[in-house]
Symmetry: C2
Subunit: 142 residues, 2 copies
DNA sequence: GTTGGTGCAAAGTGTTTGCACTCTG
DNA sequence: CAGAGTGCAAACACTTTGCACCAAC
């Protein structure tokens, strides 16, 4: 899995206005964006940008390992800037809020798998669905 | 979350030939099916069945909690008969094979989350991606 | 007999692609 | 100034829906 070190984030790819804007928006966002939300935000600063450009660059960023793609229980994909620390997601089925969490248990699980099945894990997605404290309250009272 | 007990699996819904066939196929399959694969198998026994019927029934089965829907890193969804025992998935990026596993660590993680965030977890999806033993070998030799 | 379920075709999503034009390097 | 990247529209893959007919209850 040797990977050639990248000199800067775009690794020789051309730095177009659109590409830079998209990358900035993703990194600023902090949270999770889908292609459409990113498109909407990008158009505020670059009204002629097209949705294809958004998709093409998301694909590129993924290849360059600059972003992670997430598959929540929805039809479309979500993206987020590559995490410095691996973390996972709690999705509240009440309000739709996505809460990030991390747990050392996941590392242990990886190790267990490689020991038991000889499987080398390169990427983990943990998605827990349920109800956040707030939604539980409003269900109890409502 | 109160749920009226179901008398039998289809809970008052009509037992059509197609519906029964689809449910049988899913339960026999053991593994993971996508809508198209299910359609293909169903047509072997019921050549006039339509893809819409497959989708409509998958939706119904999901509502009746007879199947689980999975979101591997692909465009379409996979389904499997409701698991008696909660288990999770290893997806090999080399050969595409899906290996099931279970781990007590996941229960612990759930408990930790409810303790730390007051979040009640109703459903968990853990998807680990990487390379199975076989694919590691062929990468090393190839 | 009602009316829920089906098959078909048409529409709806989210995403990708072909092409001519534009701009980076 | 070559060719990577763009905008646009058309194509794509998967899923849902409207409608007329059919069959389970």
């Amino acid at each position: 899995m040797g990977k050639i070190a990248r000199l800067h984030s775009l690794a020789g790819k051309r730095t177009t206005t659109q590409r830079k804007l998209l990358l900035d928006l993703i990194q600023q966002a902090g949270g999770h964006l889908d292609a459409d939300e990113l498109y909407r935000r990008a158009r505020e600063q670059e009204p002629t940008i097209s949705l294809s450009t958004v998709y093409r660059n998301l694909k590129l960023f993924k290849e360059l390992d600059l972003i992670d793609e997430r598959h929540f229980a929805e039809e479309h994909h979500h993206f987020e800037a590559k995490a410095t620390v691996e973390h996972h997601h709690l999705v509240c089925l009440g309000c739709g809020r996505v809460i990030e969490f991390k747990s050392p248990l996941i590392e242990r699980m990886k190790r267990q798998l490689s020991r038991q099945n000889g499987f080398v894990v390169t990427d983990v997605e943990v998605c827990m669905m349920g109800y956040c404290a707030r939604c539980q309250e409003s269900m109890a009272s409502g």
